[in-house]
């Protein structure tokens, strides 16, 4: 049976992951597709997966009273969507909805959490990779807050 393993193996996020770990990850992967407007997850729901976006664009939104839904970040081709599955209490902090038809590989977070508990090397490898994503998100958020394109006379 064909698996998603070759696609995962080629993705920079899984670069240098040991073969046995790649097998474990591929065992938790499935293809998913979202139509434009579909919600992928909503704030407060249990976070039990993350997504490797293959095509399309996803908006990360936050509802702000008086302003409605505010788009704070978009995730596109080749990027990873979601890391709340890895951090207790495993709940989404934002809404995510597809801005256009989006194809992705969904990675089952419960499956990966269980495998990581049994194989801490895998857990470390995943944590290392997600730490980079968290750091980049933090850097980007800081730059956004700085409002660098504004003229600060």
């Amino acid at each position: 049976m064909e698996t998603l393993r070759p696609i995962l193996a080629e993705h920079p996020f899984f670069k240098d992951l040991e073969e046995r770990h790649l097998d474990l990850v591929a065992g938790c992967a499935s293809n998913v597709r979202f139509k434009a407007g579909d919600f992928i997850f909503r704030h407060g729901e249990e976070a039990n997966e993350f997504y490797l976006i293959r095509e399309g664009l996803v908006a990360i939104e936050m509802f702000v009273t008086g302003r409605g839904a505010v788009n704070v970040q978009t995730i596109g081709e080749g990027q990873i969507l979601g890391w709340s599955w890895l951090v207790p209490p495993y709940r989404w902090m934002f809404d995510a909805h597809a801005l256009e038809t989006t194809r992705a590989i969904a990675l089952d977070g419960i499956c990966l959490r269980n495998k990581s508990e049994q194989d801490h090397d895998l857990g470390y490898q995943l944590l290392k990779r997600f730490a980079t994503i968290v750091q980049k998100d933090l850097d980007a958020a800081r730059l956004q807050i700085l409002n660098i394109y504004e003229v600060h006379a």
Partner: protein
């Protein structure tokens, strides 16, 4: 590179305003008619002029028009002070003093045969626009050409119609992102560095041109470096308080460099150390 006319570099020539066009809430483009005859003002992409509103003052503004169209001088200006506000109020037929062009230019010739990555932040798109025109005029001489543009909000997007035309081209990859947007915005949200990983280009054979706020340029350089682009292939346009524009007054000095004369465009590896010094 086209050298500035040295003997009369401090003497403005008189240009008539052809039209002004509001680009965004605080940014406008002004088209000028250069004096006819030998005094046409050819420029290279990335160079700037000193624009003098009589009785108010003089400001350095990059040329944002097409270098091949020397009959009209185009500048895109953000209203930030008395001179630019007065410039915005100028009517068709009124006269502006122009000195220049000054400074170094984007390395469009060195980029021949390479993929070109153009990264613009905010009004930084204006000084890059002449480089884009030049590259598109000789499109077959370049590999993949990618334009990454970040700005504050969808309402702050410069040259919106032109960006849409460029985006429709099959030989130019255009990515626009904004820092913040309401849910009605269907495009990318996030600082410009976040869209660099999505861009397709050959890092081993790419030349990058960056213009925007220094914080944006610093983070962009890091991201390009992550992608494997050599620092010697990354060019940035710096901005300082240019006054004389010919390296006399020292107002624009950055370490040992005079931005007006040695810059504003530098290979990043030659200016890197000054980027890392606070408040220089």
């Amino acid at each position: 590179m086209i050298e500035a006319a040295k003997p009369d570099a401090m003497t403005p020539v008189f240009c008539r305003v052809l039209k002004t066009h509001q680009e965004t809430r605080d940014t406008f483009t002004i088209d000028l008619e250069p004096p006819s005859g030998p005094q046409v003002l050819p420029f290279a992409p990335g160079q700037f002029n000193m624009l003098y509103v009589f009785g108010v003052g003089e400001v350095p503004i990059s040329v944002s028009g097409d270098p091949r169209r020397t009959h009209t001088l185009v500048h895109t200006v953000r209203e930030v002070g008395a001179v630019t506000q007065a410039m915005r109020r100028l009517k068709r037929g009124e006269v502006l003093g122009v000195r220049g062009p000054f400074g170094s230019s984007w390395p469009v010739e060195q980029a021949v045969g390479k993929d070109v990555v153009i990264v613009a932040g905010g009004i930084g798109l204006a000084p890059l626009r002449p480089a884009i025109y030049s590259i598109l005029a000789h499109r077959q001489e370049y590999g993949r050409v990618v334009l990454l543009y970040g700005t504050r909000t969808p309402e702050d997007i410069l040259f919106r119609k032109e960006l849409e035309r460029w985006r429709a081209r099959l030989d130019l990859s255009v990515h626009v992102t904004v820092d913040r947007a309401l849910a009605s915005w269907r495009g990318s949200v996030g600082v410009v560095t976040t869209i660099i990983p999505r861009a397709h280009f050959d890092s081993n054979n790419a030349l990058a041109m960056i213009c925007g706020p220094e914080a944006m340029m610093s983070f962009t350089v890091l991201e390009l470096e992550n992608r494997g682009v050599g620092l010697e292939h990354i060019y940035v346009s710096t901005e300082r308080n240019m006054k004389c524009a010919i390296g006399f007054c020292g107002h624009c000095q950055l370490g040992p460099k005079f931005i007006c004369k040695d810059g504003p465009v530098f290979p990043y590896d030659r200016i890197r150390q000054f980027f890392e010094i606070r408040e220089i």
